[in-house]
């Protein structure tokens, strides 16, 4: 009964004109940037963060969340019609989706992606509603030491599961932790690494850093490689509705993709992209005729498209219940909450039930809007794809510049964006992914605070981290992650998995 009344709170929050409008704007914008290659949800959310400051916290989060899962819907459209991933999480959809389009089954492929995503969205929403309160109640038992270890595990697992060399990712995390604590130390009041700059007293703005790394960084990356040919598949989409036989074919892949995406989304480092890759690989492995994959197998569209939407949504669980962002987008969402004066963590459900349940219900409503909207609007999305990138990126530059300036109406934040745009560019060239840096930056101040509290309670004995059962277990898992990834046998398997 409690569950129903909670959902009631959520519906009460969402079913206002304002929140429905911003939910709609979020998913519409999400689909738009999902369709457009070269503009991802991380950059978009960073650009829009300053605009959301004037909104209610729940309205702001509803819209920003809509951008992330909306992008999962949009990404498949480009993948199927143009043979280009609109979104990084739609990379595998290209393989079979475009082949289906070439065989004249574009409509069926698009409908499969949309229906699979919708099913996954509903399941993931339900999962959040059921699992998050349990996890949050469990987290209230956590002591400072447990929290610290949980953050360590979260950070390490996020790089162990993600692509790229482990050592460099760990170094990027630590660099992020250090940059995160720049400013006034809340405990002692000491100015740390502020170099006498007043603007640094409140710390380095996460939003400005994210706009530099993702907003400007993406543009620089896109400009470096020549623009791929974009020819949208032009055929009448007469039969959108999958036949009975096709429905049968996609049912199990959708269920499997949803299950896999839901699990991988919760894990640190997970989220939409990892889920879609894993789902495709598994479908191919268990299929009776794997040689079909790559030639227009409908399962190859259904499973990853369900998985990426499920993963996008369940990645909210650790952020909302434990305060630990599992990927760069969740780090930005956590940043948005902090700016609104809400500390992400187990307290959110108790202290802000309207916000929490409103966000969850909005995801379901957003998915409903997406599946209704997406199919009729495909014609418009295809038209948008004919806009060349050279007209798009100056607009992105402009919005980044205005957005970052309006954070504090200070040019200083613009300079921070430029500096981190350069840092991101340089580190990408050196094979260091900048996403872990952002995770570290968000968690830095919290980790220091929990470390300090844990050590105070244990009277300076570091053994507390090993002796407390919860903390000890979490650290053991973290060590296991590092060892597992460093083992040569697994390392090659991991690289192979990402190659696929």
């Amino acid at each position: 009964m409690e569950f129903l009344s909670n959902l009631g709170i959520g519906f009460g929050e969402v079913l206002t004109l304002t929140n429905l409008f911003y939910c709609f704007m979020g998913v519409l914008l999400g689909t738009l940037i999902g369709v457009l290659p070269g503009l991802g949800p991380a950059a978009t959310i960073a650009m829009l963060l300053p605009v959301t400051f004037t909104l209610d916290p729940s309205t702001a989060l509803i819209m920003l969340a809509g951008i992330y899962y909306g992008a999962q819907y949009g990404g498949s459209t480009t993948a199927i019609l143009v043979n280009l991933p609109g979104e990084s999480s739609a990379v595998v959809t290209v393989l079979d989706g475009y082949q289906m389009a070439r065989q004249g089954r574009a409509g069926v492929a698009l409908a499969t992606a949309a229906l699979g995503s919708f099913f996954a969205g509903c399941v993931a929403t339900l999962l959040i509603a059921v699992a998050a309160p349990i996890l949050a109640r469990f987290a209230l038992e956590f002591h400072a030491a447990d929290y610290f270890s949980l953050m360590v595990l979260g950070l390490i697992a996020s790089v162990a599961l993600a692509q790229g060399p482990l050592l460099k990712a760990l170094a990027m995390i630590i660099l992020g932790l250090i940059v995160g604590i720049i400013g006034i130390d809340i405990t002692s009041g000491a100015y740390r690494m502020t170099f006498g700059v007043n603007e640094l007293l409140d710390g380095v703005s996460i939003v400005a850093v994210a706009m530099g790394i993702f907003g400007l960084g993406e543009i620089i990356q896109n400009l470096a490689s020549p623009e791929p040919e974009r020819t949208a598949y032009k055929a009448k989409m007469s039969n959108m509705i999958p036949s009975k036989a096709e429905m049968k074919q996609i049912a199990m892949p959708v269920v499997r993709g949803t299950a896999l995406g839901s699990i991988l989304g919760i894990l640190p480092g997970g989220g939409a992209m990892l889920s879609s890759f894993a789902a495709y690989a598994i479908e191919k492995r268990i299929s009776k005729n794997p040689e079909k994959f790559g030639t227009g197998a409908i399962e190859g569209v259904a499973a990853p498209e369900s998985a990426n939407n499920a993963g996008a949504q369940t990645s909210f669980i650790p952020m909302l219940t434990l305060g630990i962002p599992s990927n760069a987008i969740m780090a930005l969402m956590a940043g948005a909450m902090l700016i609104q004066g809400i500390q992400p963590g187990p307290g959110v459900i108790r202290e802000q039930p309207e916000l929490f349940w409103g966000l969850i219900v909005s995801m379901w409503i957003g998915n409903l809007m997406l599946v209704i909207l997406n199919l009729p609007l495909i014609g418009i999305w295809v038209k948008l794809l004919t806009i060349p990138y050279k007209f798009l990126f100056p607009a992105i530059m402009t919005f980044c510049a205005i957005g970052v300036f309006t954070l504090n109406f200070s040019s200083f934040d613009v300079y921070i964006m430029v500096i981190f745009g350069f840092v991101g560019f340089a580190f990408r060239r050196l094979g260091c992914e900048p996403a872990p840096f952002l995770l570290g930056m968000v968690l830095g101040p919290m980790m220091e605070e929990y470390l300090r509290r844990a050590m105070l309670l244990s009277r300076g004995d570091p053994m507390v981290f090993v002796e407390r059962p919860i903390s000890g277990t979490l650290l053991a898992i973290a060590v296991f992650c590092i060892v597992a990834v460093s083992l040569p046998a697994i390392r090659s398997k991991r690289e192979e998995a990402f190659q696929e």
Binding site: K168, L170, S188, L223, G421, E448, G460
Partner: protein, 155 residues
């Protein structure tokens, strides 16, 4: 450069090492405290130390194993980075004294020259359109207090 087998690893390791040393040097000026009562210097010094350790491991890895050359920096990539970052930097410098409209126009013009295929006319039109859109959306509709024209123009 036979000695350095993987320049990507070696250079990034060296950068991390430099950052780690700098952090330790700066933070050693703050009160370190004791493990029980950690001062403001504790966390950054420990993290700086960890960073140095990882940095050395990364550098060592750059010296062993098979050779992996760095892909050369092509002119187009460099041009893009310089124009995009430079344009944003100038925007930051100009927005107060010159105002939003001139700053946006210069930003977009510099952005346009980050890539081939922009004629001067197309670039100017794009710049003017984007400046107008941002003036309407951000200043008129959202009411952000940004001067359209700054003190440089006598406002």
């Amino acid at each position: 450069m036979h000695f350095i087998r993987k320049p990507k690893d070696f250079i990034s390791g060296a950068l991390f090492l430099a950052a780690g040393i700098a952090v330790i040097a700066i933070s050693s000026g703050y009160d370190f405290g004791t493990p029980r009562r950690m001062g403001p210097g504790f966390f950054p010094v420990v993290m700086g130390g960890l960073l140095c350790l990882l940095a050395v491991l990364i550098m060592i890895r750059g010296l062993v194993g098979s050779v992996e050359e760095m892909e050369p920096l092509n002119a187009q990539a460099l041009r893009g980075a310089v124009m995009v970052l430079g344009g944003s930097l100038i925007y930051g410098i100009l927005i107060r004294p010159a105002g939003m409209i001139p700053a946006t126009i210069i930003l977009v013009l510099m952005g346009a020259f980050a890539t081939k295929g922009y004629g001067l006319k197309a670039a100017i039109v794009t710049a003017v359109v984007l400046a107008a859109i941002s003036a309407i959306v951000f200043v008129e509709l959202l009411g952000q207090p940004i001067p359209l024209l700054g003190s440089m123009f006598g406002y």
